[in-house]
């Protein structure tokens, strides 16, 4: 058996260290190692996007990345988005535009949206839908999620969060 080892990385702005095996997936290191259970395991096969987190500002499926591949990187999970008790503009937009029902897919949706909006501040609806293709929602029918992301784009551009 390969020995357990310590992994150093930055999670939500804080230096963290966690014991892992080489085969440990990033999602397990976050959930089981660091207790950050906001990152969900849905399909566990790289389809549904519930486990999406940001690694060095890019959305990735943390069920399809070894924790060791994130060594030294900056990881952002849903727990790291709010500031001083204030929801992030994307989170607020999801609340205000009914972008969630059961909420299981929401962390992944929001982090994928965050990647999109950091690159494309003026996304049209087809771009939003295309970007969310790797995130499944079984409640909303997506329309309200698209509206939430559109509203979040406006809020981020104008600073009216």
């Amino acid at each position: 058996m390969p020995a357990a080892r310590r992994l150093e990385l930055v999670v939500n702005g804080e230096r963290r260290s966690v014991e892992i095996e080489p085969r440990t997936l990033l999602v397990q290191a976050l959930r089981d190692g660091l207790g950050l259970t906001g990152t969900h395991i849905g399909c566990d096969t790289s389809q549904c996007g519930a486990c999406t987190v940001l690694v060095d500002e890019r959305a990735v499926k943390s069920c399809t990345m070894l924790a060791l591949q994130a060594e030294g990187s900056e990881v952002m999970t849903i727990e790291g988005l709010s500031r001083d008790g204030e929801l992030h503009p994307i989170q607020r937009a999801f609340v205000e535009h009914h972008g969630l029902q059961c909420g299981f897919c929401t962390p992944g949706m929001i982090l994928t949206a965050s990647d999109l909006l950091s690159r494309a501040p003026y996304p049209d609806d087809p771009t939003i839908r295309r970007s969310l293709r790797g995130n499944f929602c079984r409640c909303t029918g997506y329309q309200s999620i698209v509206e939430s992301v559109r509203a979040a784009a406006t809020a981020l551009r104008t600073g009216t969060a």
Partner: protein, 268 residues
């Protein structure tokens, strides 16, 4: 689901990587978007993962006669690269943009996908149609093979143990147009049938198909592509039986040729 126990070695140089890859049970890990899923399913159990993900193999160089793409270039980079915004290379970004989803494109790499050689993956068709060469490096030197010589069967390539793809070299064909079109499986996004086409001003066309056989392949240049398809050995499964898949292949070939021609004409 977790992979079977495995060692992990981070390569800090190509020499490092070749040393670790000397172990016959070792496997190179790039972005992991193809490899990790098959390891989680325990279809594949290497003893050592040689993590080449941080090697500097992700460059893109547009020269006078060729485009050189580093093997670790991600789909995300390819889909939005200004270097590829020309009719002759448009198929590359068009294809990259259709692969997987945003998260997969952020991590998945050109070289990783070509080495994995899923018979329904998209980019092999494009490298075949554009006449690309693959640069393969090993501890004892470097060799170049054409895309046609590279794909041998399902998940089977000309790579020998311990060898890595370092670059994909695409010759620039002045005034040509290119395109990639697929009909995808609605759940997996893999090509039920995909076609890449290159159309040149002297009327020459190169067409390659993916998702329809044991490996992606180039249609014979001399024959009419649709005639060639009617004689090709086509793969059938529960999603698309042989004759339906042959029909789909004909549709995507025709569309890819039309789009490549339009791009060639616009580029004039």
């Amino acid at each position: 689901m977790i992979p079977a126990a495995v060692e992990h070695v981070r390569a800090s140089s190509l020499e490092d990587a070749f040393e670790a890859l000397a172990d016959p049970e070792a496997k190179a890990l790039a972005g992991g978007q193809s490899l990790l899923p098959v390891m989680k399913l325990r279809i594949f159990r290497p003893s050592v993962l040689v993590d080449i993900g941080r090697l500097e193999l992700d460059g893109m160089q547009l020269g006078e006669t060729e485009l050189r793409l580093g093997s670790l270039t991600t789909w995300n980079k390819l889909e939005s690269a200004p270097e590829l915004e020309r009719p002759s290379l448009a198929a590359i970004s068009e294809c990259a943009a259709e692969i997987g989803d945003l998260q997969v494109r952020n991590r998945g790499t050109l070289g990783g996908s070509l080495a994995h050689a899923d018979p329904a993956s998209d980019m092999p068709a494009v490298v075949l149609a554009l006449g690309a060469q693959l640069v393969l490096r090993a501890a004892d030197g470097e060799r170049t093979v054409s895309a046609e010589e590279f794909f041998l069967g399902p998940f089977t390539t000309a790579l020998t143990p311990g060898e890595l793809i370092t670059e994909v070299v695409v010759p620039l064909v002045d005034g040509s147009g290119s395109a990639y079109v697929k009909v995808e499986h609605p759940a997996s996004g893999f090509a039920l049938a995909g076609a890449a086409a290159q159309m040149t001003r002297n009327g020459k066309q190169r067409v390659a198909v993916t998702g329809v056989g044991a490996h992606p392949f180039l249609l014979p240049e001399a024959a009419d592509p649709l005639d060639a398809l009617s004689e090709a050995e086509i793969y059938g499964d529960r999603f698309a039986p042989v004759e339906y898949r042959r029909h789909l292949a004909g549709v995507v070939v025709r569309r890819a040729l039309e789009r490549a021609r339009e791009r060639m004409e616009e580029g004039r």
